[in-house]
Each structure stands twice: as C-alpha cells, then as structure tokens.
C-alpha cells in the first residue's frame, strides 16, 4: 500500500513545556489509525500539528511526499487534502447547512455551484440529514451537527481525514449516529487518523491502534493485539480504567 502521511520525529513544546518529542507515524492509503491515551497526553495536539494548526519545533510532516510547513504559502492548498473534524462541531452559525457545505468547495476549489449542491445533497442524504439542508446549525442537535461537520470535510475530497474526539461533547445516545457514519467511511476505504475515548468504537474501526502517554508512543499494533494482549504495563493500566469488571 502507498504511504499517504509520514510524520517524522516531530517535537512540540510551548515555551518550557514539552508536549511531545520525537513522535513518528506513518499512515498508508486506506488505513484507519486510532490514537488513544490519557487526557493531556498530546494526542489532540499531535493531530492539530498534522494540518499545521499548531507549529512544530522539530521534525517534518509529509503528505504525499510534500512537506507541510506552517509558514508555507502553499499551506491552504495542502490543507484541502486534509479533512479535519473537531470536538465541538464548529459549523458556521451564520450559514444554513447547505451553505456550510458549499462554502469551501465553491470558494476554494471553484467547484460550480450546481455541482457542489448536488454533491452536498447526496452526502446529506447519506447521513440522513437531507431534510435539514435549509436549517441553521443552531437548529440541529449535537449529533446532527457533527454529522454535518463530517460531510463538510468530505466535500473537499480530502485524501485523509483527521477526527479529533468528535464524540467527546455529545450526549451518549448521539454518539452512535456519528460513529456509524465514521464506520461506513472506514468501510469504503477512507484514510483516517482518529483520536477518541470510545474504546469499543476504536476496536471496531481501527486497522492500527496507537497509545500515546507522556508525549511518547508507548505501544502500537493491530486492534486485536492491542486490546486483547497489551504488551506494556502502562497500556494495561490504561485499558483497565475503562472496564468495570
């Protein structure tokens, strides 16, 4: 399989606090990598570094062999290829759902409006929200907004999707509807890097699991090994904190 994303020995620090050091990760086309770890371990920051929302102090990030550099003029063009969905579903409040979906394709990619609209409607239909196309974001539930946010990212035809704790702010009964969408994306072979606290979901969706703690990758492996046969004591402790047996 072709490598899409290569993260090589990146380090991130804020003044005198080191978030992580020497982190590396390679993602192949069609692969779903799930990153888990305790709060504050740097996993979200790691994800944000991938599309240069955070700058890095050391190392390099390559997408299709092209360096992602926060100071580069080419950054917007590279970011088009990286879809990102955030924890707090930041739809644009002044636009309707349909307008939210069409804004970036029409303005950035210069997709003809009719074409963008057609695609937006078919994707909305797929996530069961066609009837909400003319509503404003505030009229939707959290789960609905998050599904729209996923569709908004898909509208740019990204090569890779980054999902940053996309269910962390949702009511439990809404988590499912969002994760079902992600599962169906995984089935159709989308490349994704997912940060989540939903262990059941991680197990179902991941081709590869990565456990980050204290700014380092402590353990990685296939979902089955990772959950059934963790190698490190630290991961065992971490997984145990999710079980009530």
């Amino acid at each position: 399989m072709d490598v899409i994303l290569e993260v090589k020995n990146i380090s991130k620090s804020y003044e005198d606090i080191t978030v992580f050091e020497n982190l590396s990760l390679t993602v192949k086309k069609g692969e779903v990598v799930v990153i888990v770890g305790p709060s504050g371990c740097g996993k979200s920051t790691f994800l944000r570094c991938i599309n240069a929302l955070e700058s890095i102090q050391d190392g390099e990030i390559l997408l299709d062999g092209e360096a992602i550099d926060a100071s580069s003029k080419e950054l917007p063009r590279i970011r088009e290829k990286i879809g990102m969905v955030f924890q707090s579903y930041d739809l644009f409040p002044h636009l309707t759902i349909l307008q939210n979906l069409m804004l970036a394709p029409v303005k950035v990619k210069k997709t003809p409006k009719a074409e963008a609209e057609k695609e937006a409607l078919s994707l909305l239909d797929r996530v069961g929200l066609l009837s909400k196309k003319d509503n404003f974001p505030r009229q939707l539930s959290g789960g609905q907004k998050q599904r729209v946010a996923i569709v908004r990212a898909l509208m740019m035809h990204p090569e890779i999707l980054l999902l940053d704790e996309i269910t962390a702010a949702l009511d439990p009964e809404m988590v499912r509807e969002v994760l079902d969408v992600v599962l169906s994306l995984a089935k159709e072979g989308r490349t994704m890097v997912i940060v989540t606290h939903e262990m059941q979901f991680a197990r179902a969706v991941a081709d590869r699991m990565v456990f980050i703690d204290g700014g380092k990758i402590v353990e990685e492996g296939s979902a089955q090994e990772f959950f059934d046969d963790p190698k490190t004591e630290r991961l065992r402790q971490f997984l145990n904190s999710f079980s009530y047996d």
Partner: protein, 219 residues
C-alpha cells in the same frame, strides 16, 4: 401655535432636512469604512498600525464633535488646508463615528472564536477567504446592535453642524427664532423633522438586529 407660520417654515426645514440627511449619511459611510479598517487592524494587532489605531480611537472618542469640527473648519485652513463646510461636517462625523464603529466591530471580531478560524483554515481557505466568508460576516451580525446605536447617535450629532454655519435643521431653527421670535413653531418643527429622520432608522435597526440575532444566536 400658528398653522400659517408652520406652513411657511416647512419648505425651509425640508431643505435643511435634505442637507442634514445627506451630510449625515455621508459621514456615517465614512465612519463605517474607517471603523472596519481600524477594527481589522486592532483585532489582528498589526504592528505599528495597531498603536496608531488605538491613539486615533482614544483621541476621537474622548473629544466632542464640536471641537473636532472647529479644528477641521477653522484650524486646518491656517496650514493651508481649507475644506468646504459640508465636507467638513461629513469628515468630522466620519472621524468621530469611525472611532465608535471601530470599537463596536472589533468587539464583534473578538467574539468570533478561534475555532471558527481553525475550521475555515482546515477546509483549505486562505486567511483572506476565512476573514471574508466566515469571520467578518459573523462579527458583523454580533456587532449589529452597537452599529445601529452608533448610526442613531451620529445622526443626532449632526445638530452641531450649525456651529460651522452649515444650514442643517438646528441652524434653520435657531435662524428662524432669531429672525421672527416664533419660538414654539420653530422648535416643534425641529423635533418633528428629527423624528422623521431617526424613527425609520430606529425601526429598521431593530428589525435588522432581530434578524442578525436570530441567525447567530437563535433568540
């Protein structure tokens, strides 16, 4: 009150009304343009310009329009810049209003969260696109109540134009009182014309406010 006197005054007031409205709106347009640029500079803390912007805002917010007009109309000609009274009025109003608008729009810009910026950037938008399509429209709808209040305030401030002998509503009233002593008639018409000028702005303003609020906040 003599209806005959009222009737004979109305054409004079009409003329003054048009002049006041034209100069007022020109001043407000200038204020809006200055306000947007200044707010932008302050929000993004553009080096050097941000310092100049805040000096400008403090200077013009903290001095009366009358003093500013005197400067533009009477002091500038001494250094060779003379501007006709009407333009002086519009420029003065624009500079005063710009400082108020700047603060109003800046607070709107500051209220749009960084997550909105990040969402726009993550979709591949350039900074300019992010500002034009996401940040600015959102900020504007948050700033609407402040902007409407400023517009009403500025239209009322036109009453000091009379000090630089612009034939505005206030000037006309004072003039007529001085000439004919029909104080009641002159003042009643003055009030009526100010209300004709401001009431539609006020009503329209609250409709726009409601709409903008509903769009962004849903209440």
């Amino acid at each position: 009150m003599d209806p005959e006197v009222l009737r004979s005054y109305v054409p004079l007031y009409k003329e003054a009304f048009i002049l006041t409205l034209e100069t007022g709106w020109l001043g407000i347009a200038i204020a809006f343009a200055i306000g947007i640029v200044t707010a932008f500079i302050m929000h993004f803390r553009i080096p050097v310009l941000a310092k100049i912007a805040s000096v400008y805002v403090e200077l013009f917010r903290n001095t009366p329009l009358l003093v500013q007009l005197f400067f533009i109309y009477f002091a500038l000609p001494k250094i060779g810049i003379s501007i006709p009274a009407r333009e002086c009025g519009a420029i003065g109003l624009g500079l005063l209003g710009g400082s108020y608008m700047a603060e109003g729009i800046r607070s709107g810009l500051d209220a749009v969260g960084t997550l909105q910026e990040e969402s726009a950037l993550a979709l591949g938008m350039s900074k300019r696109q992010m500002f034009m399509y996401v940040i600015f429209p959102e900020a504007l709808s948050i700033s609407v109540p402040g902007i409407v209040a400023n517009v009403i305030f500025l239209l009322k401030e036109t009453s000091v134009f009379s000090a630089i002998s612009l034939m505005d509503l206030m000037f006309t009233a004072k003039d007529l009182i001085g000439l004919y002593y029909d104080t009641t008639e002159a003042l009643v018409l003055l009030v009526v014309f100010y209300i004709i000028m401001l009431l539609p702005v006020s009503l329209l303003g609250s409709i726009v406010e409601k709409k903008a609020r509903y769009r962004t906040l849903g209440v």
